[in-house]
Assembly symmetry: C2
Homo-oligomer: 393 residues x 2
Amino acid sequence: MMPFVQMPKGFLATGVNCGVRRYRPDIGIIKSETPCVAAGTFTTNTFKAAPVLYNMSLLPSDSVRALVVNSGHANAATGEQGLKDNLEFAQHTAETLGLRQSEILVASTGVVGERLPLQKLIPALPQAVRAFSDTINNFALAIMTTDLVPKFGSETFEIQGKTVTVAACAKGSGMIHPNMATMLGFVVSDALVSKDVLQKVLREVSDETFNMISVDGETSTNDMVLALSNGQSGVNVDSGDAYKLFKQAVLKVCRDLAISVARDGEGASKLITVIVEGSADLKLAREAARLITTSPLIKSAVHGEDPNWGRILVRLGQAGVPTDWFENIEIRLQDVTVFKDGSPQAFDRPAARQALQADHVTIRCTLGNGPHSATAWGCDLTKRYVEINTEYS
Amino acid sequence: MMPFVQMPKGFLATGVNCGVRRYRPDIGIIKSETPCVAAGTFTTNTFKAAPVLYNMSLLPSDSVRALVVNSGHANAATGEQGLKDNLEFAQHTAETLGLRQSEILVASTGVVGERLPLQKLIPALPQAVRAFSDTINNFALAIMTTDLVPKFGSETFEIQGKTVTVAACAKGSGMIHPNMATMLGFVVSDALVSKDVLQKVLREVSDETFNMISVDGETSTNDMVLALSNGQSGVNVDSGDAYKLFKQAVLKVCRDLAISVARDGEGASKLITVIVEGSADLKLAREAARLITTSPLIKSAVHGEDPNWGRILVRLGQAGVPTDWFENIEIRLQDVTVFKDGSPQAFDRPAARQALQADHVTIRCTLGNGPHSATAWGCDLTKRYVEINTEYS
């Protein structure tokens, strides 16, 4: 049974089937009793899908009341018609909920280049409303495409005798159905927060979590993470200890979701965590960690449980690690040191191979004694990935 | 039988087995009777292998007499010892040829992190000298690692009643043996050319050829292309028509070799040519073409003979094609137009699928009516790629 995750105070969520999928929920709504502060981070792909452009025009905001999501159709590469369809979807959702269209955010995920199936989505809205509950579970199911598992979680913290809840939900990384647009994330909280602070927290947390995962190096047209906060906990988190606790809670739920997305990567059999530490340069640490997670050679070696450190070193060089840092570089696979002080280390190869049999492999690269570190997550490359993506559209 | 390719006037080449491989040639030398102008382009990986650093310190030059190459060991990630080993290899090669060490260039390809096997290489030098001939063929075999076919060719042109020959040879793209450092290219000519012009031609040609291929997005520590020209044709190609003909000949041989490397990509069953044209920006056209060749989703779709244009559009957006160019975009798969004027086109899907059954697939993207175009080459992604790279080191 799926563990139930409670929505923050004043939030309801729903997910029902509108007929795009055969049985599974494929339309979901989150709504708040009261207006929310809302923030978003969006794909850097220049061909942004209609719902991405729509949300970007509304955010940041302090008057969002709901967000509606459909899965199966990305409403990307659909031009002017796509923008009209998206607006119609928002309008009908608003009417059904008794709200104004400008209070509604929209996300879509699925096939690129086909119109939104409004004839299925609109009639399903009243059913969705009837299924509102105070858990996130059915919403989490409704946003899945080829994900093997739903991805959701929550964190709470107490301060001033009050409880703040942060719940979040994501989908991503499956592409069995071709042309999928991939990563969506939603964070809802009852913290009292200004839109600027919420935007800042979301951007900083996204940079450390969702922006540090990769399944195949593809940047989708629909990627976005949205955050809503309705203040109903009565705890102002704009500064001080409350700010720290809030950011920590958002970071924790988002990191867990990001890791779930990487672990559920297409065809993946292993989660790979790459830690690059001791860097004098944060950007370089992030770039190096990401390049290691996107290397098809390293992904294949991990799949083959092969302690192939040379491929990691090559990728650090590709990231632009300065030549004079070389003599300080240390590389560890799980707990086995394979490279140190710029030199290959004698290591127990069978033991290293055995350590790599785990379903979670950690690669740790120390670049020196600089203050910056970065962590990225990915997955191994398997024949199943190729199978999934050579299937017919 | 391999077609024989004649070396340019005054050049000899050789390739013999020194015992790193079981039987196949694994050490090769090209030498010129007279001093050569020499130029090089080198990997951007910051952890450059010892022979790369050595050649960079000598080039451009007008007094190079020979280059020696070994396959099986990359002499990368080998530190100070690697530089010493490389120098010793150059010194012994010079002595054997009766030359000075500073007249010798060196290239290595193979496993990262192991020392050069000088105890095998040095005793083989006299044998290599005895095997000098005026064809490039054995040299082309000696530089192979996991390449399935040797890659070499030549072009000649006539001007002022004289003949100029450009011969070239490359290896690359196999990585069955782990930690391989990949791409090497050698261009030799009897044109009379200044080192600055040779360097300029090599850089410009490399940008259009070797720098536009990708098998898996990995930038090796050992990549380099070297050009030697000894002037024995008596034709000065520094300017005018002779310059144009010379550059065209270098471009032709290098393009053919680059395409061979892409076609021989690990596990590949199809060559993919991507043409991005009508761009107002050359850099963007190149970036977009390369991003399409490196997309695991597009590579998988081509392997599955799936006319999946959405993945191509997503990649154009990831490359940063401006939003307002969207309505001019046209995408053709082989001869089938699948996207035009910013809209999906109705097309005959079975016919498109059939067209994609060819072993050479061309993807053509028109971005508008700008003056710039770029061509990139890659290969499909197959289960064999994963098999090759999960094998144990």
